[in-house]
Symmetry: C2
Subunit: 467 residues, 2 copies
């Protein structure tokens, strides 16, 4: 950027919401992936008009603009890979309104997702999407990545709960899409196109979310199995019996060991797989269903099945799952967190193939994930300074993607393509499919100012793990 451009931008923002110092620029150079790119200026907008004005300037100057929430992205989504302007949306958080009668929430993009959960639950309502970052990630980021967490099988993904948006387009126009009704077929569905568009098609400045009645009760069990195959059988049988759990969380042996090493709590470190299963509904239905699930797990050959008898025991079970991330992070300095997703019935095969990849490349690979919707999280623990090992990591990641697609699955269930998976997009979508996507991007953003360098690989770009 030219100095005069930075100066002109500065006239639009008070100094406490405009940053150009080296320390500040470095603070905004990373996300939860491992890329590092320095932007040229940071703005913290509070109003849609400010954003519209900045985007119009950026479009006129052909300067890149990178919107960002809490930067918890694991795919490099908000990284300012071409410099330019970072638009820090985290301070735009003045609206969090629950309309109880119509069961909808209206939210600003900087509101934390966990705060939406709390506000809805206070009035007996429920916002099901629950990415594990919910305590610190913003709803704006969640929407643009369509990140959803464990409840996808029963409740669908984030997209299923977004019914209206206010958006600033790549040319700076303010547009409202959808509305306050669950049913809306007026024109093309721009709402769902923008949700999951990773900030390439527009900046969300307000969202209308559909809520549902809060389930009265939850019941939770923890089962361990000799192998992921046994565990997969139990999952299939549960569903075949007409039970639709709110969550089914799977951990492999390496993951169990990591958690037990991190904070010993008596997990069986020889078990091949661990399953946390939760049902929700009424007191009576959850009681019945968890009993069914227990029997099914036992018949599928579970080593142990433990049903939580009270809230304390339930919290203890979930603690094992919630320690996965810190436990895995402690294993090494660099964590590559993938989210390859396969049709649920292919989970046992995918688990076996991941085991083979682990052995082939001699890597520290742990697997956990949302088994109900086939969304696995293979995590490779490495050190990005070890270039020899990182080469093997690259090859392993390629193999993981190829295997997921081969099994009828997808590169990404909820982390997005971002920077890190861009070279693999055509593997899944083919050239014609990617061209349809690019043509929308080009039509809406002819100067490619909104989050450039993401989703679509640059000419000659192959594997970006090492950048």
């Amino acid at each position: 950027m030219e100095n005069w451009q930075i100066e002109q931008l500065h006239t639009l923002f008070p100094s406490e919401r405009f940053f150009t110092s080296t320390a500040d620029l470095y603070s905004y150079s990373f996300d939860a992936s491992f890329g590092e790119y320095i932007p040229e200026v940071i703005c913290q907008p509070l109003h849609v008009e400010e954003i519209s004005t900045v985007v119009k300037k950026a479009n006129e100057w052909k300067v890149p603009i990178y919107p960002r929430g809490s930067a918890t992205s694991l795919s490099g989504g908000p990284l300012p890979v071409k410099g330019g302007i970072v638009l820090d949306m985290s301070q735009m958080k003045d609206t969090l309104t629950i309309d109880q009668e119509n069961m909808i929430a209206t939210v600003s993009p900087g509101v934390l997702t966990a705060d939406i959960h709390r506000a809805a639950e206070e009035v007996g309502l429920f916002y099901p999407p629950d990415p594990s970052s919910a305590l610190i990630s913003t709803i704006g980021g969640n929407l643009l990545e369509n990140s959803s967490g464990p409840k996808g099988l029963k409740y669908g993904t984030t997209k299923e709960y977004v019914i209206g948006l206010e958006v600033v387009t790549p040319t700076g126009e303010i547009v409202k899409t959808g509305g306050k009704t669950v049913k809306n077929v007026t024109g093309f569905d721009l709402t769902r196109l923008i949700v999951g568009s990773e900030g390439l098609l527009g900046i969300v400045t307000e969202a209308t979310l559909r809520l549902i009645p809060k389930p009265q009760a939850q019941k939770t069990l923890l089962a361990t199995f000799h192998s992921p195959v046994d565990c997969g059988k139990a999952i299939t049988e549960v569903l075949r019996h007409g039970v639709l759990p709110a969550a089914m969380e799977l951990m492999d042996n390496a993951c169990i060991r990591a958690v037990e090493h991190f904070q010993p709590s008596g997990l069986p470190i020889d078990a091949g797989a661990l399953l946390i299963l939760e049902v929700d509904g009424t007191d009576v239905s959850t009681e019945n269903e968890i009993g069914h699930c227990q029997t099914i797990c036992e018949h599928a050959g579970a080593i142990s099945v433990q049903v939580a008898n009270n809230e304390e025991e339930r919290a203890a079970i979930w603690k094992a799952r919630k320690m996965v991330s810190p436990a895995v992070t402690e294993l090494g300095p660099t964590k590559i967190s993938e989210d390859a997703t396969v049709p649920r019935g292919k989970i046992p095969e995918m688990m076996e193939r991941l085991q083979e990849i682990r052995e082939r490349y001699q890597l520290n690979l742990v697997v956990f994930g949302h088994a109900g919707d086939g969304n696995l999280h293979p995590n490779i623990i490495t050190d990005k300074r070890n270039t020899e090992e990182m080469k093997r990591v690259e090859d392993a990641v390629s193999d993981i993607f190829e295997t997921a697609v081969e099994l009828g699955g997808t590169l990404s269930g909820e982390h997005g393509i971002g920077l890190l998976k861009a070279p693999y997009l055509e593997m899944e979508y083919g050239t014609a499919g990617v061209n349809l996507m690019k043509s929308i991007k080009h039509a809406w953003d002819p100067n490619h100012v909104l989050n450039p360098g993401k989703m679509f690989a640059e000419e000659g770009q192959t594997k970006v793990v090492l950048t």
Copy 2:
């Protein structure tokens, strides 16, 4: 079209799937709205490759191509308004596969939606979208219109159940979008963009649908009220108590009278509103919930509440709802069926405003609809040969749309924009929003060959009811 073009098309299809006689062309000139436009040739494709070839020819020749399922559209969706080729998709129905383990269905576009219901239910699964045309409409048409029926509140719309598509693009490319997993954030969500795109962006040649476990039990009640306002209160209270009914069907006094006149069954013709409410779930939960709902209706001032005690009584209640369409059709030669949708809390106000519109224009206006999701179906019964009355109909329809948008709702909940609502699109979306839609259409279909003349009004086109 030129003769040589028709001859060249004929070489692609055997004569039993290729029609050009006047009688055949007239057979394909209408849908369930009241427009009539004569196409130039009809093809009945059976394979995706045939469609790709026809579309490539049409694109090369700049000849319009109109895909069509069972033509049950109420918005003129498949009408061949600019002549050209009608692609009758109804014979492409060879695939209807239920993958029980992964809870997904793979279907050809010509499969009837009711056949998907049956196939899923045979193995204990459930496909919730249920447009009232389900017995005769094709899944391809349902998807492209995103028509959903009564269960939108609890189960979401058709779009929420489509996870993968095979599509022929407007330039004849064959592209697969999405896949077999509930979670998929690989690239822009082309699947949900194409669902509801009314055949302007692509022709669906195969779809992958998400299924859910079939609820064990249903319980149904019929309640009558002095006024729609009392009925609206009951609906709000039911939801406030944490009950999420599978369906809440509302009929106004004019609608009750029409049904009772059509086939007397003891409906109270003086009641201001009738509500059919159904809950589903387990035996125990439905028993509890229907009891709650009964009490709530009584407290809200219901004149009568009748809970079905067995399947026979349940069928009798639903019969009243299912007779609405034939009963209303009998009232006059032309039925204008709208689907203005408002936030649920605005239903009482919308009902009052519809009553005012009825009186202002002195029209035979009956109202029924899916109260849970705010999706009302105001039907105007008229005679299109009566030009004086049709002028009042036009004005009334305009008023209905304006009122819906003013109350925070939308022009169309599930019938689509098609031909009849095109002039009103900007009223809801504004010029900038409509331009975003048009830019996608133009980028994907530069020669505007796929279903031209729909969704976007032609220059100078205002109200099209009379065309």
